[in-house]
Point group: D5
């Protein structure tokens, strides 16, 4: 079950603005309609305000979706909401890219805050 | 025969703006001039206003063009019109990429609404 | 309906052994179980004995599978049998590569006659 | 000899703005200086005002350059002028990409009208 | 839990020898040492003797490894043994390719029977 | 008109066996059936016996096919025969790869002499 | 230990604005948490004000991180600060791309000064 | 020795603005520090005002750097200055991409005039 | 310092012959001549006789070369010897691929035992 | 001027057979007919008998061809002869791949000794 409580954070090493991108190419959840597994890539990009997300805790948070029945659109918005609430970043973008189903590939993009220059 | 009645929709999981992209790499229709099959990729991108298109129904809608005699330009505008009318999205873009004919590859792009930031 | 009667042939331009390969990247038939279309690439390689298959007639023959409900394995063996009977080639190989279904891509290979040196 | 009289047109299927791109990867003409053949790719992109160029007639028009002695820069501007005069498009872009000569590859770009949003 | 009872078979459409390859790019199991998920691609190649494996049942069989704690080497030999026992193929090859762990990617290959010509 | 008289040769710089490969990616001839141009790549590989073909003369020989109406199979065997007669190489292979026509790409392979170790 | 004292500089060869990019694909440091080595690519882009960084000294500076325990975010900001202080460039961008850890790849971007036109 | 006197020009075939790009993938000069050869790609892009640079003369100009000891930054600015003075183009951009030295690849970019729309 | 004592092993899960390949893309050692770091990829392939090498211990063994001054050829033979002595495999192959130095890339290959069918 | 006296050697680190491959992607010489520079990649593969060629000396040897007027075929056989005489390897292969001239790319292959298993 998706669990934002797994996320840990550390203080940003600088007070100047910079950007962080993490790409998880091993994301999997379950289609709530068919019960078959979905496989995708999750990309998060953000401008930290005060804290950065710790990499191993981020991996465990992503793994907590493994047996959850949830649609593409909901996964994407859920990750955006969990990270935005926990980190209060200046800007946050979440992109999910899903392997084809029935010949159709999908990409969902959600953002929070204002785009940095 | 292209049938927008096949399309089904579900409520957007959030009221914040986000983007959805579906890429169908297995589109085929028939050239109305020569009777030979055309093969292409159809990409749709949209910002949902209230509803999202359900993925399996989108596949069936695309399959309904299989034996239709219709030009590239008409396919593209037809899909744009069908989806725009049924979903009333904030923004919608339809791109079709066609395999070469006589050594010439083609791409047609149609839009609806105003581009999101 | 697959129709080998569409195939036409012309005399080999030489009596020395040589090899011919044709790759059709626009093959489609229908899954007899689900009724959904299948998409694939068909490769034929052969060493002509007396005749070569004419390219446009080969295209029309492949198009005659468009609305046929037929499994991957049967498509491959059917094309091998039709071409082997009509051309009596020294050697013939038919390879079909199918786009993924349920995350699984497939390749079927069938041959006729003895491999050339 | 380049012959714009070969071009045929059909009415745009919609009165809403949209974009068309055709990529001809089999263009050849002759270098007027050395007499050796040049090989390149010609890309045209346009926003139709009232008519679209018919694909087979476009192929024949491109083939009419086959034995013409003409420089890269002149080919590109010639195609731009011929298509702009015949179609009066809202916007037109012609890009030619030439295979290397003496280790140098070239790309020429010409436009007509104002870039669509 | 890996369950070969999920596998279904159909009669080979020909009594001539031919080859079948299925590539599942969405395989996942669990590392028995760390509890973290492993992700990989499973390729099976075989020469059917009397029966072929049905594609959807193969997918469900692969999915039954999803929450199983099992090493790379054991996954590969297990699939080889299950398929060899159930199909008695003339030849069978199982290849697993695993995404990197600690900077190291792995491939395991197991066979059954004698290689076809 | 294809003219082997354009070919020039120079003495092999060594009496030890070695291999030479030339790949011409700018070959064009004309389809004798439709009158449309064909585009392809011609690869020649040979083990010189006494002489090697001079590169610029080879280019001019290939250019002499530019406006010749000739089938793929005939082009390939013609080049094999012309080079074999003129050079008497220990081994010679000619491969032509043709851009797609009607969705079908083709490769023709002809040889002369016995394959080197 | 990271040592900016290793950096050497030479006068810019022009007083007109221009851009310089150096990409080091052989960067390695050590994870302060696990003690395992990290591997990445470091890209620096800058608009010189008065001096340019000498290439060999830049290599030695990058090598001075080899056995340093330091996080991705800190490496990136450290390089930005060291170069900005030593060169006072008009603009400077530092991008680090890190090979995957636990299935997650990362990119960190830091800047100094105002982006050139 | 770099010699702009080798450059020849011809009149622009049109008085409408258009863009020209030439990419020389076979550039070599010598490092003035180590005496070892440097290898790179030189790209020039420009909007002609009245004249265009002739392609063969451009090749000879580039070859005149072959045995010159000169730094990356100086090569780039030198070419920009030579071409800007000789052609007075509306806009000119020179980009040099250098193969790796000590694991570091480099790109230098210099411009002249105002960027076209 | 290279330390084969770091290697751990587990019993092969089967007594039938099979193949294992591990590819470490993050190998680094030091050039004994210049003191500069070398970066490469190490591939090991083997047919286990009784035991398999444990993946994490293999990573630590590779990391023990990090600050060792040692030539490409010696690294390759050293790994071959250490693994052959510790595992007594039926067959073992070690391939090292090194990033370019002075424009030259290198690959070293060493084997032990007889190649499996 | 090509100078094999530049080559240096070191003792093989083992008396067991193994293979070495060096790929120089920065080779240049001059066409003796036109005076224009040629650019290519030189690959050498060998099984050392007693000595290995030192990498930096190999680079200097390759650089000594820089201003030599010499045909592709002669370069390849010259390198083969120089290395075979100096190292007496068990097996040696030299492959040169040349960038296109007049649209034709070339590869020359020469060997010495008997191919290792």
């Amino acid at each position: 079950m998706p669990d934002p409580g797994l996320l840990e954070f550390f203080d940003s090493p600088t007070d100047q603005p910079f950007l962080i991108e993490h790409i998880n190419e091993e994301f999997t959840s379950v289609c709530p309609k068919t019960g078959h597994p979905d496989f995708g890539t999750v990309t998060i990009r953000y401008q930290p305000e005060a804290v950065c997300v710790e990499l191993k805790s981020l991996k465990l948070y992503f793994q907590s979706f493994r047996n959850e029945g949830i649609f593409y659109e909901a996964v994407t918005n859920r990750i955006r909401d969990d990270l935005a609430e926990a980190m209060s970043p200046g800007w946050l973008q979440v992109i999910t890219d899903w392997r084809g189903r029935g010949g159709i590939r999908s990409r969902i993009t959600a953002e929070h805050g204002s785009v940095p220059r």
